[in-house]
Amino acid sequence: MTIIKKIKDNFFLATVALIYVIIFIAKPAMGMAAVKSSGYYIKEMLMIMPVIFVLTALLDMWVPKEKIMHYLGKEAKVKGLFLSFVVGSISAGPVYAAFPMCVMLHKKGASLRNIVVILSSWAVIKIPMLLNEMKFLGPKFMAVRWLLTVIAITVFSWIAAQIIRDNDLPKAAPAPSGLHLNKDACIGCRLCVNSYPELFGMEGNKVHPKPYKILDRVKLKNAINACPVKAISYPENEEIDSSDPRQSQ
């Protein structure tokens, strides 16, 4: 059972492995060549990947994103545009982790254009990725492509804002009541499990909230703050902050 599930979860990996087995049986020399050429990329990845992940996480941790976003609603002009680029460029996590955050920003009054800029730069411009690009394709290549990308996003976000109206976006879906976990955003880092093991458990490589009767507000708040992709929400929690005298349970 578990083996079948493992193969299902890693379908692509299993397919690639199968093709290698076939090639090694049919044409061993070709199989060796393929492994050799993969080896080059693996070596390159091992040299650069750890440092890229660490740099991404550090940037995400140290740049005060919340503070920056606070300005986005009011400043739709140049400053807002600039800050949107900053938010997108320094954030960690896959682009779909940005969706819930951007929906929230739009509700709080951020302009459509800024939302488009955040999403697009989140997907394309990443400072650690720029360094990686420089390594393999050269500084000039990286700089020109970066500059053109920034210009392109600036222009097409303006066009998008002319075509799309605010009410084209889905009407604010009622905020999910109670504890909500956005599984699409979850990267399975277990930080919430560490903060509140009674409530959060792992199911495969994603977090799954366990059934609960009473919530420990303090632990929950720690878990919500610990989540690097802001996948956990608990609406009532917004009212209680650290000054709230009601401590656990």
Partner: protein, 160 residues
Amino acid sequence: MDIFTLVIWIGTLVFLGISLAKDKPKTMRALKMALAMGKGMAPSILSIIFAIGLILTLFPPALIAGLVSNQPVLLATTVAALFGTITLVPAFIAFPLVGTLIHAGVNVVPSVAFLTTLTMVGVVTFPLEKQAFGIKFTAVRNGLSFLFAIAIALIMGVVI
């Protein structure tokens, strides 16, 4: 280790040192997050690398270069952009791959189009984006991204 990798390592280690000195728990959280990202992506990265090894053995870069340069640039670029739209190669593997292809003589313009649509246009994330922002927003954003990716590639061809 080449100079760029070295600079990134040194810069990050300095950053890490300052971070540790300023706020240890926060730094540990960042490191855990980095580890989680690495662990989460390792299987897919490995399988994609082995798939690339396989593809480059079956279709050597020189052969791809020959194929691409026989086509009109605009056609090759559009196809490359479409390819980037539908494939799921993480950007940091795409850079060395595109590096290999360009060194083998593949035209810069389609290469850039591929690189840009790879990250900017999201077919895989389209359903999620639609759910969050509606069909019009998602279609307009991704459509414009595609067109501008081709524009970026064409300009790169002139500048580089």
